[in-house]
Symmetry: D2
Subunit: 347 residues, 4 copies
Amino acid sequence: MHHQFYNDYSETAHPACLAAIAHEPMRQEAGYGMDTISAQAAEAIRTICHAPEAAVHFLSGGTQANLTVISSMLRPFEAVISAHTGHIFANETGAIEATGHKVISMTVTQGKLTPADVRAVVAAHPWEHGVRPRVVYISQSTEIGTVYNLTELRALREVCTELNLYFFIDGARLGSALVSTEADWTLADIAALADVFYIGGTKNGALLGEAVVIVNTSLQTDFRYHLKQRGALLAKGRVIGSQFLALLSNGLFQALATHANQCALALQNGLLALGVEFESLSSTNQIFPILPNDAITALQARYGFHVWKKYDEGRQMIRLVTSWATPLDKVKDFIADARDALQHKEI
Amino acid sequence: MHHQFYNDYSETAHPACLAAIAHEPMRQEAGYGMDTISAQAAEAIRTICHAPEAAVHFLSGGTQANLTVISSMLRPFEAVISAHTGHIFANETGAIEATGHKVISMTVTQGKLTPADVRAVVAAHPWEHGVRPRVVYISQSTEIGTVYNLTELRALREVCTELNLYFFIDGARLGSALVSTEADWTLADIAALADVFYIGGTKNGALLGEAVVIVNTSLQTDFRYHLKQRGALLAKGRVIGSQFLALLSNGLFQALATHANQCALALQNGLLALGVEFESLSSTNQIFPILPNDAITALQARYGFHVWKKYDEGRQMIRLVTSWATPLDKVKDFIADARDALQHKEI
Amino acid sequence: MHHQFYNDYSETAHPACLAAIAHEPMRQEAGYGMDTISAQAAEAIRTICHAPEAAVHFLSGGTQANLTVISSMLRPFEAVISAHTGHIFANETGAIEATGHKVISMTVTQGKLTPADVRAVVAAHPWEHGVRPRVVYISQSTEIGTVYNLTELRALREVCTELNLYFFIDGARLGSALVSTEADWTLADIAALADVFYIGGTKNGALLGEAVVIVNTSLQTDFRYHLKQRGALLAKGRVIGSQFLALLSNGLFQALATHANQCALALQNGLLALGVEFESLSSTNQIFPILPNDAITALQARYGFHVWKKYDEGRQMIRLVTSWATPLDKVKDFIADARDALQHKEI
Amino acid sequence: MHHQFYNDYSETAHPACLAAIAHEPMRQEAGYGMDTISAQAAEAIRTICHAPEAAVHFLSGGTQANLTVISSMLRPFEAVISAHTGHIFANETGAIEATGHKVISMTVTQGKLTPADVRAVVAAHPWEHGVRPRVVYISQSTEIGTVYNLTELRALREVCTELNLYFFIDGARLGSALVSTEADWTLADIAALADVFYIGGTKNGALLGEAVVIVNTSLQTDFRYHLKQRGALLAKGRVIGSQFLALLSNGLFQALATHANQCALALQNGLLALGVEFESLSSTNQIFPILPNDAITALQARYGFHVWKKYDEGRQMIRLVTSWATPLDKVKDFIADARDALQHKEI
């Protein structure tokens, strides 16, 4: 296999993360996230987010973060609103429902929930014969690579405030969103708008780790009980804390995401130049070109990627994901091979 | 602080584990536990356990392993039997109950459940106005440092078979149990007796990681669905697989546990020689001496440890935990300081 | 208020049901559904359904029946498929999700799920990153008054068998469906096709009560545990058993439903004669006429009914429900008043 | 069978309850508990309890009431404290755990929880590695027929207030407790002390029905959502409301319970006069005599009752339950037959 564009977690971790983990391994630290390293990382996140009152917790993965956060926000009869493409609705094996709560999905375009969607859900749930919507969940960037801009985020915040909903942002790919050309916001903006969000490490260079930031102080109380109950409290919390310290030093977090986006943009531009169609263009590290079936077959001999869905009789949409670890020459190789495949040359 | 005997996860990880993680970080591997490194580690575990049909999955911690395994075994009205000291009953914030199941506890001595306990629970639950006991849960070593011997394990297996119960062994500290002087069994014995068990990495040198071994083939089906739903499927499964490969090479797993036990034995013998009483003696890496209150206060100035419970008006039981990382000279220092504290000298 | 067409449970119960309850009240019977009266009623149901091996249980309401039955069929990661109009998806406050399971909805027309819908759901859930569909849920009659015919039911049974799904029929209004002009099936057909179904009493003359019929013997085991755990095991089971005995004697169950349907048909025909439009015509006891807003306002002064949804700027769809207890003269009154309202006369 | 002393729900219902249900069956009422009859019954309960601000809801049974109320009070990591004999711990098939919450049991004597028990539980749960106790659950009368007096109730209220716990009283047999010779309190006292309690109808003459009284206004909000989600919202709420109206008229509720207690007292005194031993004497409608095995066998030929537990080699404790429906002559017969059985005469 020449290269895999399956996802952004195919490589182990960025050297800086590995080095951070391996630093002073024999220094004794308190367990279960009460260590000094996690405390420093939490402080670094509060600083970068301009959120001095935020609580920060380090979890091992996105599904774990989503189920722990969302179930902590809801009473038994309350529900969370998601785009139909939202990770919690489509890709987490009913993890939210397993905590007892309905995920109300809205069919969206571009992977993005709108205030109108939120209003429609609330309007459709007026009484006790249905659940009560209580949390708006979005992913930033979305599962199809798009990015909410500041106007869109503010509009969602406003509708949440108006309708007494919490606003939760899944940031598994927040780095890629943050440095995308579409992003006209900062982490501080995210912290000012969301009740809770998380900063994804796993898909941006870390071995594992998501930093959950609870900005709304009323949601901070007792969160460690939720963590422990859901199996999300790591004995050695430093393993994640240390990596976030590394990622947040010297702009590494942004640099890694920028590299991933540049690789994706190069892929996208290269394919566009070959006449390849896209349903929508991406500014983050996932792109979704539409290719003829035979070209896909040819490319699969050398590259790993997911076929996303059938587009028409002769074509399918594929997903290509780049990361901090993607070599630029593999991007060039892919484009060259795609050119040949489209021209029915052997590759 | 001179040294902490709080637990066996105060240090980061053994160098061999850190090296294993850092090996070939840029080699692309499949995500979510489907990587070749996890596959090799699983095979190594099957080999060492003489369990060629076993399924092996790598999870990030003990509570996560317990809740995922137990909820996968039970229908909604079924329950798990545990000693009152069992981790799932006493120390996991209702994690099992949060999946919908009752933990039936029996008050035990020495931290060990007996066939008579199991029979008593089953006899007390004859009909549909109570839950149905379905799983016997034990910890090996137990939460108070004791070890089930082969006769005891076989007796539990027999009662489980007779009463149609599954037998699940929490091996968060299985290494320490395995190399204890009380252990007259092997990992292959454990695999032959349990339906499911796990081999703890976190408390024996790994950064994080528990290897769940599902021996009973009828329980293997669909386990990845349970993992994903509970947030237990790591994107980069290699992070745990690689460490288990390291631990299972050249006897490292046993060597680390042996060191931990030797430190604990040295502590225990040293304190016995000072006339310190114990409710029961331990052959693993946790000991529970009974000390005068003033001696405890004095020792707390230099050492970290948990006060376990009040023993009588003047004394309390403390817990001292050693690990692969405990320096032997700290053990000697502790004994010397304990001698002084018991003689009311300043330490 | 002249008359309410809100629902089919506005009156207490048919005199025969009340008489059955009040019969021999001092005769002692076993509790929790083990009484001889419930046993007789179960036998009567087995006979009428030609299902000698079926297990029958009496529950107090539809939501209770749905949540108890569905959660008894599923492993934690499994899910149920429903029309978007299905009661479990739209009208039960997340009762299924509260037992830990996702309800996968398909947007349907006419309230009916098709084999193609079922296939599409299964195709969209191929792996452990999504739930596994395991039960197909339909309502007969549906929430919008339509009825599945025998061809449609057989096709659903076939797709269930092919795809290893259970087939569960919510029969809260099974009586009305059974006697509708669209029904070309019998209760024996339902029993032959479904794994589990229930016969609704509450909406067809009973004080309360749904008879759950578990035809698939593999689903019968331990169902009383589920009943007790969900709070669905009535201390005095005879209260429901006795009513079903009454309803199933001398064709009362069919007679009551037939009256309800005739009232609805009379309403529908009367309104059609006035030129009122319908999105679809009903053969059961719920009809959904589309009326001008001012006519609705006028009618609301004298009649109770639910406004179902906005149809266009000037019109809304309303729901009129008839029952065993609907007086035919009230039907005539309504039509007359509707005529006046449509002609802008005062009513 | 001469007579059954198995329980207090062997007969259908008191004639007044049956008459109340059958009154004006064709008057249309709103569904789902919004009817005028339930409203009147709620007002009657508020009046008798001197609790003008209380919310009252009518549920169909005790387990349903317990699981709905308790799960409505708790966040996911919170737990309820119960005596080990408590119905929620011993007799409800893990219904509370199925809603995600641990029941913490304390081994008690006389079926009664004490403030010391409550303090011990709270002291044993100081941090996030265990659940947080949040509700104290007691049954009045208890499962073994004893009654908390006013001093005991006040002491429990005080410890709840001090430790920030809710106080919930299961009143499935509140009538029998209320009129017992041990009761030095009124329903108004119960309402003043509990956050939530319920008044049992099913075991005191009603066909079915428990009246849940939510005194603490902060717990009233959204309770109908919980009811609907748990399948506890009856379509025809009037069926329970009407019975409570009947029971609360002219002192019927107290009269029925008084009759039950008198029968039990007569049984107890009659057996005492025969030299029969009791572990403890009861002032309510359940008594627990200790009888020789052969006498039990002889009595079982003519009477139905539960054998409670083995007492010693030759004797067992049995449970005899009386009710509003127990004929006094059956009580006399039982005593006479017990005399014969104890003297080894044929009965």
